[in-house]
């Protein structure tokens, strides 16, 4: 027995010795690298969600639009999105000092943004942030299906993904952002900087874009324009859940690196201490709370799975320190709110095809405020006593800024596009369906019949 124990101890020692050969920075880099493909799963999920929510005559056009959003986001986030994150921290415009920070960390014409033996992490961080950007574009993409011109959509997606949300992130998702340093704004899981900005950007565009043909009757009542494949949409939502683990992993800073806040403890992007254990608790409890809350009040599978998203977004801002049963309750409330909020939006004449404004915009507000209601008093930054603390007031100011960062550019640019006549697909093409009009392939060659809107 003793011999076996000694043998086992020797093996463990050998394994430890072998492990010590892997530098700590390699493990840190792999940690963030893994978040990138995990977040690609979010995009795959949104693709399935959006295609399933489209009618048969528009399914491929919706898919093309979603994939193009992803594709254009990568180069544009390289060209200027990453730079904006570093340079826009002081406020509406960068200062000379913050501009130089942008040049130092994200100059797209500099050696920092390419293969460089002296810098092994920038590309990995850039990739993770580029996927956050793609997520915002994907959130927006679903809401405008079946009637937006794809080239105009791409321009809007670039504005959202490579500028609007990045400014919001520089202000409220960075330890040097003014919302954090002056108001103690806390948004660990980006309920505001990603979800609110994308959701309200979509709202601004939807106002100018108008509803799908046949969505509303002359008396203002709404028709149900169901997508062609609800199972695909539900599976897409579940894939988004998988990707959320990568998304939230990327919101954490590993310890012990030159760029870490702490030598021995995981921290949030603000330098506040946390653990991965917290994430496992609260992502899963949030997911469950949202699903159950939505199911209890609707029994509709679409809203039930959207409830999963709403649940995580509800507790995203304070996910790094919420008590798990409370995260469940906050998420439950978010899930329960979904269907009534979507109905209010529909009654206002807004045709949000996938509920993006409700799930990401309205529930994002709830998530940001919930952190201020239930987690006030925590220090919002690392450092000694005296740093700003989290408060409902600070969260409300942050929520207002997030709304403006999303809604204003979305509304203004889409208004210009509408005036120029390049925003909306004309009625004849909507009636025929975007696939037969402009896609050189058929989604289901076996000859499934497409269905028509009540107006047709």
């Amino acid at each position: 027995m003793e011999e076996q124990l000694a043998e086992l101890a020797a093996k463990v020692a050998a394994l430890e010795a072998a492990g010590s050969g892997t530098p700590n920075f390699v493990i840190a880099e792999v940690y963030y690298y893994v978040t990138i493909p995990l977040m690609v799963i979010i995009h795959a999920g949104f693709l399935a969600y959006e295609m399933g929510a489209s009618r048969l005559k528009n399914v491929l056009a919706s898919g093309i639009k979603n994939i193009l959003a992803f594709a254009f986001m990568m180069p544009t986030f390289y060209f200027f999105g990453w730079f904006v994150y570093w340079a826009w921290t002081p406020g509406l415009l960068p200062t000379a000092e913050s501009w130089q920070v942008g040049i130092d960390f994200a100059n797209p014409a500099g050696a920092v943004m390419g293969p460089n033996l002296g810098d092994t992490i920038t590309g990995v961080f850039w990739g993770a942030f580029a996927l956050f950007a793609a997520t915002t574009a994907s959130i927006f993409s679903g809401s405008v299906i079946e009637r937006i011109r794809v080239s105009s959509f791409i321009v809007l997606a670039i504005v959202l993904g490579s500028f609007a949300w990045v400014v919001a992130a520089a202000w409220g998702w960075s330890a040097s952002g003014w919302l954090v340093t002056e108001y103690g704004y806390h948004d660990f899981g980006a309920a505001g900087v990603v979800h609110m900005v994308a959701g309200f950007f979509a709202l601004g565009v939807l106002i100018n874009l108008g509803p799908r043909l046949g969505k509303f009757n002359p008396d203002g009542t709404a028709n149900d324009l169901s997508g062609h494949n609800m199972p695909l949409t539900v599976i897409g939502l579940m894939m988004i859940m998988v990707g959320f683990f990568g998304f939230l992993m990327a919101c954490v800073l590993v310890p012990g690196q030159a760029w870490s806040f702490d030598a021995g403890m995981w921290t949030s992007i603000y330098g506040t201490k946390m653990t991965l254990s917290t994430l496992a608790f609260n992502i899963l409890m949030g997911f469950a709370g949202g699903v159950i809350g939505a199911w209890a009040f609707t029994r509709d599978p679409f809203w039930m799975m959207s409830g999963a998203l709403a649940g995580i977004i509800s507790c995203a801002s304070g996910m790094d320190f919420f008590w798990p049963p409370m995260a469940f309750a906050v998420a439950f409330a978010g899930g329960a709110m979904l269907a009534p909020l979507a109905k209010i939006l529909e009654n206002m004449g807004i045709d949000d095809a996938v509920g993006a404004v409700t799930v990401h915009g309205f529930i994002g507000v709830w998530g940001v405020l919930a952190c201020g209601i239930f987690a006030s008093g925590y220090p919002a930054l690392s450092g000694d006593v005296g740093v700003p603390t989290i408060s409902l007031y600070g969260q409300a100011v942050g929520a207002l800024m997030m709304f403006l960062c999303g809604f204003v550019p979305g509304y203004v640019i889409s208004l210009v596009m509408r005036i120029l006549g390049i925003l909306r697909v004309d009625d004849e093409s909507q009636m025929a369906g975007l696939d037969p009009v402009k896609v050189p392939l058929v989604a289901y060659p076996e000859g499934m019949a497409s269905h028509h809107t009540p107006a047709e």
């Binding site: 254009f72 180069p75 544009t76 060209f79 100059n107 797209p108 014409a109 500099g110 050696a111 390419g114 293969p115 460089n116 033996l117 002296g118 011109r149 794809v150 080239s151 791409i154 321009v155 390049i422 697909v425 004309d426 004849e428 093409s429 009636m431 025929a432 009009v437 402009k438």
Partner: protein, 77 residues
Amino acid sequence: MFGSPLKEASWNSAEGAIYNGATVLAEGAEAPLWFATSEGIWLIIAMALCVLALLIGHGHESAAYRRERDRARGASQ
């Protein structure tokens, strides 16, 4: 514009930027403006390709909608 920036045909002494076409300045030389470096030129080319693709896509799309509009109007007459 392209090619290896390594000082010698060996990885032994490789350090810093290793991407092809990396601007290598002679000792004491003044750095050129960003758009005159190979990094800047490739950046401008990549941006131009995105704009070009967007314009071509816009053209394809507009033509497709125009065709459908003409077809629908022809069918109704």
